[in-house]
Symmetry: C2
Subunit: 377 residues, 2 copies
């Protein structure tokens, strides 16, 4: 069943891979960054701007969409892509993470999870089968199976128990998933920070067979070095020929580190969330545009990025917009931040092809750590 989502590796540089993931809704060049569109909208963006920023796939959240507006509405309007007018592929997460982090009351059993909505307290149940059905109704290009996402830190005993449950759910998910050409279902490895559990999880998933493999349960507070260490170890157990997705990661240096270790896909709320609070990514690190040192600053955010928001507007204007609570401040900073991430991914892809990823990564890290230079105006 793995023929339904072709993944072609075009080039390698160390463990890093340059690839193409062929979906029914378009081609995805990997390593890829997926902006997060939780409720069917990449926050503060039009789909046109998301695309202009260089995005080829976005992520949406099953948990959020099942609560608002409800799956029935989206199905009636011919799926999430048509609902939100995004032409490209969509990956939807399973809701497992949100059930753990957002909902008020949880009752976990072999069957699935009962929880109360964080919005109105209404009760809902998620089972592996139901989650697959929801994603089918959303017409998701890439679906993710329900998993249990334990908090960090967790003992090895509990991590093993939780991972085993997630693997049984993965099996049920695969069975209830209806394969279609150009669509795919990914497996999610669990096992916390325990290498042998990650191996056991990977083997269980490979036995079942998926169109791609995600590394779950990271970016939950373990820190960058541990995150990269677990990623490096986990990835050795995953098949070479399938895409690998590191869920919820991360900052630019996290992404660079993970690409070097063989990760192909990323999603993270940071560029959008920080964009709405006045923070901008630049190649010299992040800046807070609210800071008064930018109030007369004629420089753009980062003239090296091919995006109107990055190079055409002065920091003085953006400082004014953000301080005045103008919505345009959120729009321009988010647009810039997504463009910054997509520019980084584009440069990473070029460097892999060019066999110069280490050199690029070193230069990027050096500039990033230099910090933004304060100038006088």
């Amino acid at each position: 069943m793995s023929e339904y989502l072709n993944f072609n590796i075009r080039s390698r540089d160390g463990n890093a891979r340059l690839g193409e993931l062929m979906t029914v809704h378009g081609k995805i060049n990997t390593p890829v960054f997926m902006p997060v569109g939780t409720l069917g909208s990449v926050k503060a963006m039009t789909v046109d701007l998301v695309e202009r920023a260089g995005s080829e796939i976005i992520l949406a959240n099953t948990y959020h969409l099942m609560l608002r507006p409800g799956v029935g509405v989206i199905e009636k309007l011919k799926g999430l892509r048509n609902f939100m007018k995004w032409d490209g592929p969509i990956l939807t997460d399973s809701g497992g993470f949100q059930v753990m982090s957002l909902s008020k009351l949880r009752d976990l059993s072999e069957e699935g999870v009962l929880f109360k909505s964080h919005i109105d307290g209404s009760k809902h149940q998620l089972t592996p089968e139901k989650v697959i059905n929801i994603q089918r109704s959303l017409d998701s290009t890439i679906s993710m199976p329900l998993d249990e996402c334990p908090a960090f830190p967790i003992s090895k005993e509990l991590a093993a128990k939780s991972m085993a449950l997630s693997m049984r759910w993965a099996k049920r998910s695969r069975i209830s998933y209806e394969s279609r050409e150009g669509y795919g279902l990914f497996g999610i490895t669990q096992g916390g920070i325990y290498n042998d559990l990650r191996e056991e999880s990977a083997n269980a998933l490979i036995d079942i067979g998926f169109e791609g493999y995600a590394i779950g349960g990271l970016a939950v507070g373990e820190g960058q070095s541990l995150m990269l260490k677990v990623t490096e170890e986990s990835i050795r157990f995953l098949p070479q020929e399938k895409p690998r997705y590191l869920m919820g990661v991360g900052m630019p240096l996290d992404i660079l580190g993970a690409v070097k270790r063989g990760v192909d896909m990323f999603d993270c709320v940071l560029p959008t969330r920080l964009g709405r609070t006045g923070k901008a990514f630049t190649r010299f690190g992040t800046i807070n545009i609210r800071n008064s040192r930018h109030s007369k600053d004629p420089r753009p955010l980062d003239e090296s990025i091919d995006c109107d928001a990055s190079r055409n507007y002065s920091r003085a204007y953006l400082n004014h917009l953000v301080k005045s609570n103008e919505i345009l401040g959120s729009i321009l900073l988010t647009w810039h931040n997504i463009s910054f991430y997509q520019d980084l991914m584009s440069k990473i892809r070029f460097a892999i092809k060019d066999n110069s990823l280490d050199k690029f990564a070193n230069k990027f890290e050096e500039e990033w750590n230099r910090g933004d230079i304060e100038e006088e105006y």
Copy 2:
């Protein structure tokens, strides 16, 4: 001095005029609607979307910009157009209206007006000369002189006294204004609802000489019929060959009524302000997209408008965005509302050329009053 801003009347239909106002920053087809960009941003819009909606000129507020970010910053960044990256012409109001409606303490004298900022209570003075200088620093295409905007209702005696002061200020404004090719200064008639005062005001302004004439002091609570009556009477005293601007008006039927009476220019916060509160203009009147009857509604807002926001998104999606407080809800509704207004102006201009304005206005009013039809889904 009236050669600096050429106005060509190309066609007439009754008292309505189809014109072209030639400015240094581009041509404006009249009758024209100017979206409001109070703080140097048409709220929730990128300049690209403002332009795509069909806007040829925008309005910005001198009072707001002098308080935030301050005129010095904008001047240093080469004027407001460059600051906000709007390529077309800009009209800036004088701040007179905002001083009256927003500031906390006012001390009016022959010299000007002292007031406290509505933001931080800091004290500021506006004089006719200072207001002209500020607009010069902003590089405004069309400047407006400081005037006193009395509240409605007002006695004839007070209206006469106030109008006389505004006329003396208009004279001082003209003297301090430095004429430049393609830029212009408009006069503002005052006199409340009193016909003979409006005549006296118009004559005083004509004696001074301006590139255009505004009707001020309306849309302050007097109601549509009185507003149109005063507009109709006031306009008879204004020169035929100059553009006429009805400040702060209005709803679509207000604009239609005023165009029929010979008004060429309009500004109003309604399409932007209502767009941020879930209200949308349609040819069948306004609708509140928050209303649950739209929660499963596959229809677009108004498929007759050539705008993505108007015809590509379902009301169900917009309902979901607005109820979920997604910024995209404000973006799409504002974009649609501005497009709706610009579409109306475009149809008005076509009807004037076609000598069918009355017919168009009757049809528009009939559809508008029909209301949006509720359907079952």
